[in-house]
Symmetry: C2
Subunit: 327 residues, 2 copies
């Protein structure tokens, strides 16, 4: 009997899910439109129906042993999504307990960056690493810490909010209510803001001058930089400098073997990695220099959210086994 | 048979040791002058002689089950003291293996702040806490992280160097070679530098104007502040503001239940805790506000280094027991 897990990634627009084995082979993939459901209970019913159908058509020698969910504002301890700003449904949503009741298997839920960290450990380049940091660069900047081989959830289940450390207390407005948070500079949104700041401050010609703020995306900035656009190149240098300076601070907290970067921005390769590594090394305490690897994530962007979510279940089962062995 | 451990705190001037039980009762205390020994091997022989004598006079129904050592630049994984700036003996000193050979019991060694963190967990106010941070305010600023109930040593055994995160990249010279590190502002040395800066910049009368930089200490600054000295009061406010701002960043890494402050500066009570807590709360990401306790350490300053060092052994034996139970 082959054990499989369901990995679910709840995004503001789409909810993707997949059924995978321990090696990361995907047996089934599907998705439903998150925005189709005005009520959370209807969303749950729609999701459960779709999952039941998918499970029904799995090979006979397989069984689903758990469900993992990654969602912004997911609370690991409570199995709830709490006051998510990217979803229509407000309040505290007890999703894990509802899945447990419906499917009679364990259900683990955490925020998307923590799920990505566990995914890197189970399926990616962090296999066998006991101490590393995951940085996800999307609309915001998420982070997940693994110390002594275990995901750090923290006392309140909200660990890993490095995106809300300070770059400049009088800096850019942040969604969290503060100003100058790291994610207002280093994220898909942050680099767009940087491009617009550079276009405002300087006179250099740039192909990006013809693109509106709403249209501009990371891919356009990357391609412009590769074509030699000076503004786009400066935007990457600026983003990498700030990320490097802040990673030099994060590194001395938990002394990781590696810091993995994940997300659309990392597809720019050297454009983002080179300044990040250079400025991290320059700003690191000398004792740490040359010791911390900054690496692209080993998860493909495509399947990563599903693998991250499903990996929560494998990690949980591993820990249960260790615990029961320890009596 | 009562199990006891030896706790050793190696300081630049004095090396203190104590023999204690699991409850923190001290059966014996002693110390030797670190500076008396030009050669590391002679120091080790002197220390071993003194310990053997103390062990000889212990009650008959006791036995020593391990040795714990706290030392600046202690490397947990290697059991070595590496390139310590506060000791005469240079290079890599394999102290743990020498103690193991001499006394035939486990010997654990780590830096003093990590030892204090484990001490807080075994003997202090962090009993039962799974996620907390220890900040030690001495000549420098040390830190130790406990996540998921375990001390975080990191990949290279050097985790917890929050004292070397940046307050101002163009700020005060730091021993580590960088500029503007947190410990150049927040530590016994840091507050002295702040007093001198304030005396230089302002005209307020202050009793501290009659004291040289070399003579000035935390106790004098505290007493002056309590007597209403405006410069001394400003120095505490300034120190607390910087500490609070940086703790707001540290907190969002690992989401601790509490941050413990330890050391001479904390004896100033509200003078340091009030501005620290106020500025931490103001600078915290809103999701974290009101959740993180900033507390004075539960270890008395007197016995703390010995208890911290000896607690490494209890923690090690606990982990060995869990591991062997797990097969």
């Amino acid at each position: 009997m082959k054990d499989l897990t369901v990995g679910i990634d709840i995004g503001g627009t789409n909810t993707k899910f997949g059924i995978v084995d321990r090696e990361g082979h995907v047996y089934h993939q599907g998705n439903i439109a998150t925005t189709d459901y005005e009520e959370f209970n209807d969303f749950f019913d729609g999701m459960a129906d779709t999952m039941r159908e998918a499970i029904h058509f799995l090979p006979k020698d397989t069984r689903v042993v758990g469900i993992g969910v990654g969602a912004a504002n997911g609370n690991f301890y409570n199995g709830t999504i709490e006051q998510a700003t990217n979803l229509k449904w407000k309040g505290v949503l007890p999703l894990a307990s509802m899945f447990i009741k419906e499917f009679n298997v364990p259900c683990l839920l955490t925020n998307d960056a923590n799920a990505a960290a566990v995914g890197e450990m189970i399926y990616g380049k962090a296999k066998g690493m006991r101490d590393f940091v995951m940085i996800t660069l999307g609309t915001g900047l998420g982070s997940g810490f693994v110390c002594n081989g275990e995901l750090v959830n923290g006392r309140h289940g909200i660990a890993g909010e490095v995106g809300h450390t300070s770059v400049n207390p009088n800096g850019r407005d942040c969604n969290c209510g503060k100003r100058g948070c790291l994610e207002t500079y280093v994220s898909a949104t942050g680099i767009r803001r940087t491009v617009y700041k550079l276009l405002a401050d300087h006179l250099e010609p740039s192909e990006l001058r013809s693109i509106s703020f709403d249209e501009l995306n990371t891919k356009m900035i990357t391609e412009a930089a590769l074509r030699g656009d000076v503004v786009a190149q400066h935007a990457f240098e600026y983003t990498g400098r700030i990320l490097g300076m802040k990673l030099a601070e994060t590194a001395v907290h938990t002394d990781p073997e590696a810091i993995f970067l994940f997300g659309g921005l990392t597809l720019a390769g050297d454009l983002i990695f080179k300044p990040t590594i250079r400025h991290m090394e320059e700003n690191l305490m000398p004792l740490y220099r040359g010791k911390i690897n900054v690496l692209p994530s080993g998860l493909s962007n495509q399947a990563a959210p599903i693998l991250g979510a499903s990996s929560l279940v494998w990690d949980y089962l591993d820990r249960q086994q260790r615990k029961s062995a320890a009596g």
